[in-house]
């Protein structure tokens, strides 16, 4: 059944986004067709909890149904757990890999539904991109993880002391998962800049981009590393 959603979006725009997905270097090795066997669905954790199906994603892309593709790009791709259980596919498809590509296109093109799906997540992007480690010990706070029970509160209350009670010398950190050298972080900033990741962040959240850009520019100025 053709998708009735997103009728206000011109077909040409849906087609353009579809072509971006299809032209990704990985696309051809992630999609070989589809038997409609449903083996991927049986293995898929997200299919158990959401109205979501890796088979439908594969089918849509194989049929080049751009209307349904656009609907899935907005309403489905963020449900995937990226566990890659769907690599059980007897046709050698990677539905999860196709979803990774679709997500990249969604971020690059600043889709509103993507911004909504990643709202609340941006502090994590900030952490990983500016430090090289994700979800540092000091992010384990009761207000962020209330469902994890009183133990989280205990960790937060004793954090500095408990980190010093770790024998590995690299783990005495609270704002980082381990002690990362400054030079290492600067090289990471170079990687983000040289590969267009900073532009992706602009499309997602301009404010976040500006904050990170300032940090990276200042750091790189003194580092001796140059883009050109």
């Amino acid at each position: 059944m053709p998708s009735q959603l997103y009728q206000e979006v011109p077909l040409a725009e849906k087609e353009r986004l579809f072509q971006l997905v299809k032209s990704d270097a990985r696309f051809d090795s992630y999609l070989y067709g589809c038997y409609e066997c449903g083996i991927c669905v049986a293995a898929c954790p997200s299919a158990r909890f959401y109205d979501f199906s890796p088979r439908k994603i594969t089918q849509t892309l194989a049929r080049e149904d751009v209307e349904l593709f656009y609907e899935q790009l907005n309403d489905d791709v963020w449900n995937c757990s990226q566990c890659f259980s769907c690599l059980r596919c007897p046709r050698q498809n990677s539905p999860g890999g196709l979803i990774t590509i679709m997500r990249e296109v969604a971020v690059n093109n600043g889709l509103k539904t993507t911004q909504e799906a990643l709202a609340g997540y941006t502090r994590i992007i900030y952490k990983i991109m500016t430090t090289g480690t994700q979800v540092s010990p000091d992010m384990l706070q009761e207000d962020a993880f209330p469902d994890w029970g009183p133990q989280v509160k205990e960790v937060a209350a004793n954090l500095e002391l408990w980190r010093r009670a770790l024998p590995p010398e690299t783990l005495h950190t609270t704002g980082l998962s381990w002690d990362v050298e400054e030079r290492t972080m600067h090289e990471l900033y170079m990687i983000w800049k040289l590969t267009g990741v900073m532009d992706m962040i602009t499309a997602l959240d301009e404010g976040l981009h500006d904050i990170m850009e300032e940090i990276m520019e200042d750091a790189l100025e003194d580092s001796g590393l140059t883009i050109d």
């Binding site: 270097a25 293995a43 954790p45 997200s46 158990r48 909890f49 757990s81 990226q82 566990c83 890659f84 259980s85 690599l87 990774t100 997500r103 990249e104 971020v107 990643l118 609340g120 997540y121 994590i124 992007i125 990983i128 991109m129 090289g132 480690t133 994700q134 979800v135 540092s136 010990p137 992010m139 993880f145 469902d147 994890w148 004793n158 002391l161 408990w162 010093r164 009670a165 770790l166 024998p167 590995p168 010398e169 690299t170 783990l171 005495h172 998962s177 381990w178 050298e181 030079r183 290492t184 972080m185 090289e187 990471l188 170079m190 990687i191 040289l194 590969t195 992706m200 997602l204 590393l225």
Partner: protein
């Protein structure tokens, strides 16, 4: 829909069939990348870092042999482990020290950044490959060989390696980035996960066991990104599940003498979801408890759940609190097999295994192993007092080995 009663029989890791299957590497459905890696090295595309000798040779899914370095390992740490379950990596280091193996714990290392990539897609192929190659380059320059702690880093790096071998435009692009950073372009001969190292040294570990673990039952959660991504490069052993599932974790736990019990949802993921664990945890909690922990409890009633990835420990452990409030059949401690092995070999449950970072009650498990939990906690409290008073700045390796 109510639960369906399935005719399950309790079993361990022995297959129900007597038939044996011997994989033939010549018939493997996926290519062996290693020859291509050496070939690209000979063509000057990159430097290949060889696995240091002596190494252990382990069988992988399709019967190919994989070299596992024993010493001179460069520990590619994991952000989730080091941040929230630091006993995981501390135990790996402790075991290396116990075996008198030379290793290196680097500061010139970033995470693989794949947790973020699989959560938000705010990155791309080139950036992910450059992050990987920067870390490999750093390892090469120290003379130590990468040993990857995280299942996701291991799986993601295998994907990156596959892409770099096949896509010369990507390879050139990433090589140019590394040149801009002033770094050599290096691909390790093999990508090795720490649980493969544990597998390689399992007999040495068993020889040093301090506690009898034969009364303990474990269930194993094999990490998706360890064996589902680039599946040909995970360890399989005909003695374990008839070679039909990865032997990582299970072989070590069995060698140590514990009973590994099977459960029907072994192939299911842990529910981590990358994005979900951080901002949509209703999914993670439900999946981790309903599809994993409860099934394990119902079918095997284990004393402990063992796995070999950061995300899996976190989801399976932390999700139990809320489920307990709903009177679900949960309540089993979760840790890595490195923590389990370290404890069995006499490591302190708090100073080394750092179990106070875990949520679900682990005390009955420790007691069953024969450990005096209260005394161990009191000893750790003494350490904390010394740290607080300034009598001790940090807990050191000398104090724990």
């Amino acid at each position: 829909m109510g639960p369906i009663e399935l005719p399950l029989t309790r079993r361990g890791t022995k297959p129900e069939t007597e038939r044996s299957f011997t994989p033939d590497p010549e018939q493997a459905p996926v290519e062996d990348l290693r020859e291509a890696i050496w070939e690209l090295g000979r063509e000057g595309e990159w430097i290949v870092q060889p696995v240091p000798e002596p190494y252990y040779e382990a069988r992988t899914k399709y019967g190919r042999m994989k070299k596992i370095p024993l010493q001179k390992t460069w520990h590619h740490k994991s952000c989730g482990q080091c941040g929230h379950i630091p006993g995981y990596s501390t135990s790996i280091f402790w075991l290396n020290r116990l075996l008198h193996y030379d290793y290196f714990d680097p500061r010139d290392q970033t995470s693989c950044t794949a947790w973020n990539y699989y959560a938000s897609a705010t990155s791309n192929q080139a950036a992910q490959a450059a992050v990987a190659m920067r870390n490999f380059s750093s390892a090469y320059q120290t003379g130590y060989y990468p040993l990857i702690h995280c299942g996701t880093s291991f799986g993601h790096y295998k994907e990156v390696r596959h892409e770099l071998v096949h896509d010369h435009a990507l390879r050139r692009q990433v090589r140019d980035i590394l040149a801009k950073l002033g770094r050599p372009f290096v691909m390790p001969e093999e990508l090795v996960h720490y649980s493969e190292w544990m597998y390689a040294v399992r007999d040495e570990l068993t020889a040093r066991r301090v506690y009898d673990v034969s009364g303990l039952t474990a269930t194993v959660h094999p990490a998706c990104h360890y064996y589902k991504l680039q599946s040909g490069d995970a360890i399989y052993d005909p003695e374990i599940y008839g070679g039909q599932r990865t032997a990582a974790v299970t072989a070590v736990v069995q060698a140590l003498g514990a009973n590994v019990a099977d459960y029907s949802t072994w192939y299911d993921c842990c529910g981590f979801g990358f994005r979900h664990i951080l901002v949509q945890r209703d999914f993670t909690r439900s999946f981790a408890t309903l599809r994993k922990i409860e099934v394990m409890k119902d079918e095997a009633n284990p004393d402990v759940v063992l796995t070999h990835d950061t995300g899996c420990v976190t989801s399976l452990d932390k999700s139990q609190f809320a489920a307990q409030a709903h009177n679900r059949n949960v309540g089993v401690p979760v840790m890595s097999e490195s923590q389990f092995a370290a404890i069995a070999l006499g490591a302190h449950p708090y100073r080394v295994a750092q179990l106070h970072w875990h949520s679900t009650d682990y005390k009955p498990f420790l007691s069953k192993m024969g450990i005096d939990v209260e005394s161990a906690w009191a000893e750790f409290q003494e350490d904390l007092k010394k740290l607080e008073s300034g009598a001790m700045e940090y807990l050191t390796w000398e104090a724990v080995l």
